[in-house]
């Protein structure tokens, strides 16, 4: 059988290529697994997302009911939906851990700049997946959280109102927004993500896995295949176990159907990964000098994101600055997310 396949698919050359790939072995090697875990969770999202697509209907009159149908009538529908929701959250967490591990291990150095850029773009896409998917069940919380989110876009100077109208597909959140977000979530984003993911993986393959610069050379290594691949598989199974526990013991709630004519419920807030910027914008005063506070806040975030993305250009010669910035970034995210949740 192998011989038959090998003759047609040149499996030996792939094996040969993989046998040359090595993974550095050191005390921080555990962080290498998070890129693979993010990939695994993305694959779960694709698989469960396709299953949900069979029953989901993207209209304001049917969206909520179709999700309710999936959860109550479809065999294992509750599990698929719950895994999809939990895996989305775990994927964001894994992607952030992967990004910070790259920062602290200084793996963004030459010649891996493009790997870093593609990774940052993938993180942005993962967040876009979260934002667009959050509205799809059309429940009260998701409806008003999306309203708050798109209102932020409206405050961008000059193009804000056009931008908000473009995102919403109208003046307010409605059927147009739902179909737009649905199209984005199931077609546009997966398409771009798949291409970018391939680029990212090819770049990792091309440049190999980076060892921290402070380690004494030569750094001990293990073969990627099968040694690291088997360990990665263990990590994937561990992730699957965590996902199973979360989905079975804490099934993702559906909540109350969105009513556009009702007033927003008290304490409305976005998903946990948007809490820190959300709370920061809440703290900024309405006006700073001659500018609107929200505009200043958004401009500040935009500058910080650009500076962070350009890390390979300013961080290589300043590893201590990078480590400090990484710690400060984590402290900011943790503190403001907790404050945003409880206030």
């Amino acid at each position: 059988m192998y011989r038959w396949l090998n003759e047609r698919l040149a499996l030996d050359s792939i094996r040969e290529l993989m046998s040359h790939k090595k993974v550095p072995v050191h005390s921080q090697s555990i962080w290498y697994y998070f890129g693979g875990i993010t990939l695994f969770l993305f694959m779960i999202q694709v698989a469960t997302g396709i299953m949900l697509l069979l029953y989901y209907r993207p209209t304001p009159t049917e969206a909520y009911e179709s999700v309710q149908f999936i959860m109550t009538r479809v065999q294992f529908g509750w599990l698929i939906r719950s895994i999809h929701s939990w895996a989305a959250n775990l994927m964001v967490l894994a992607a952030f851990i992967h990004m910070f591990s790259v920062v602290f291990l200084h793996a963004y150095r030459r010649p891996r700049e493009m790997t870093w850029f593609s990774g940052m773009a993938l993180l942005g896409l993962i967040l876009a997946f979260g934002f667009s998917g959050y509205l799809l069940p059309w429940n009260e919380v998701s409806y008003f959280a999306t309203k708050v989110g798109t209102d932020m876009a409206a405050s961008v100077p000059a193009v804000g109102s056009y931008l908000a109208r473009f995102i919403r597909g109208g003046e307010d959140i409605g059927g147009g927004t739902l179909t737009r977000f649905f199209g984005l979530h199931v077609a546009v984003l997966p398409g771009i993500t798949t291409v970018l993911l391939l680029v990212h993986v090819v770049l990792v393959q091309q440049h190999g896995i980076s060892a921290p610069p402070k380690l004494k050379r030569p750094v001990p290594e293990m073969p990627f295949f099968p040694n690291f691949a088997l360990r990665e598989m263990m990590a994937w199974y561990g992730t699957l176990a965590v996902l199973g526990v979360l989905a079975a013991l804490y099934p993702w709630e559906l909540g109350v159907k969105a009513d556009p004519f009702a007033s927003a419920p008290a304490g409305i807030r976005p998903e946990w990964y948007f809490l820190a910027p959300f709370y920061t914008l809440k703290l900024i005063p309405a006006h700073i000098w001659i500018f609107e506070g929200e505009v200043v806040g958004l401009a500040g975030f935009a500058i910080l994101i650009v500076v962070w993305c350009l890390l390979p250009f300013w961080g290589v010669k300043r590893p201590r600055w990078v480590a400090g910035a990484g710690v400060a970034f984590i402290a900011y995210l943790a503190t403001f997310s907790v404050l945003g949740y409880y206030r």
Binding site: Q68, N227, R231, M234, L240, P251
Partner: protein, 281 residues
């Protein structure tokens, strides 16, 4: 509040016609400004009505603030009755007007033997049992037992007293069944089961409880039996749905244990494979 017949009888001489009241406001030389204030005559806000009337009727306000009407009004249910809804505004009257909001209750009451008896004895209809300003939250305890209102006129062991106890048992039976269904559904909801459809059905089933309480006013068992039977049937079905949701929860947990065992075994297998591989090399 237990509104005794004696208290009602004492209050009766104070009741008068609408004409009497208009005269009494006129006699007291009440002018527009006394209620509406001087300066720009403003419409009195609904939320300010009780305060305005209480300038002269402090005692009635005290009774009203102990009532179910005030309990609802003060919580923002501004449709709940306040002074003007029973007494009118400029056409001030004293005649009880409960039926303007509680029409179905009045319909049931008119079918009951109480209607004629209360009229004959001049007990004043609804106020005969419920009082006027100080209308308490109703409960099945008003029908039998220590807090029974029936006992004021019907001694224990008499036919009407037994009827009160029978109606009470029907209402309580329905209440208990609905309560049990609500509890099991809430348990299922808190463990993450999707029971929102059942919770909507429970809200509908709770309406039968209201209908049964209304039907009690006809004092006819057959009238009460209709919503009670419907409610009990719905409650039974909802309880089964709650049980099914909890059984499904248990099944899921069992499935989780099996899956976790399989995953753990695979992880152990992978680990052994890695060890074997690395020991060889």
């Amino acid at each position: 509040m237990k509104f005794t017949l004696a208290a009602l009888l004492l209050a009766l001489p104070a009741l008068g016609t609408a004409e009497d009241v208009r005269v009494s406001h006129a006699k007291a030389e009440l002018k527009c400004v006394d209620c509406h204030g001087s300066g720009a005559i403003a419409k009195i806000k609904r939320s300010e009505v009780t305060k305005t009337c209480a300038r002269c009727h402090a005692e009635q306000l005290k009774q009203y603030t102990a009532s179910v009407h005030w309990a609802k009004f003060s919580k923002g249910e501004t449709a709940a009755a306040t002074c003007l809804d029973c007494h009118g505004s400029h056409e001030t009257r004293k005649a009880p007007t409960c039926e303007s909001c509680h029409a179905t209750l009045k319909e049931m009451y008119d079918k009951s033997p109480h209607a004629k008896a209360f009229e004959r004895m001049q007990l004043g209809g609804c106020v005969g049992c419920h009082g006027n300003h100080e209308i308490a939250v109703t409960s099945s305890a008003m029908l039998a037992g220590d807090k029974s209102l029936c006992a004021d006129c019907h001694p224990a062991g008499t036919g009407p007293s037994k009827m009160g106890a029978l109606l009470q048992s029907k209402l309580d039976g329905l209440h208990t069944s609905l309560q049990k269904s609500a509890e099991i559904l809430e348990r299922a909801r808190t463990v993450g089961m999707e029971v929102s459809d059942s919770l909507v059905k429970l809200q509908e089933a709770n309406q039968t409880q209201v209908q049964a309480r209304v039907a009690v006013h006809s004092l006819r068992v057959e009238d009460v039996d209709v919503p009670v039977k419907e409610g009990l049937q719905a409650a039974g079905q909802l309880y089964k749905e709650g049980e099914a949701a909890l059984r499904e929860r248990d099944k899921r947990r069992m499935g989780l244990v099996v899956s976790l065992s399989a995953i753990l075994l695979t992880i152990v297998g992978l680990w052994l494979r890695i060890r074997k591989l690395e020991n060889h090399s």
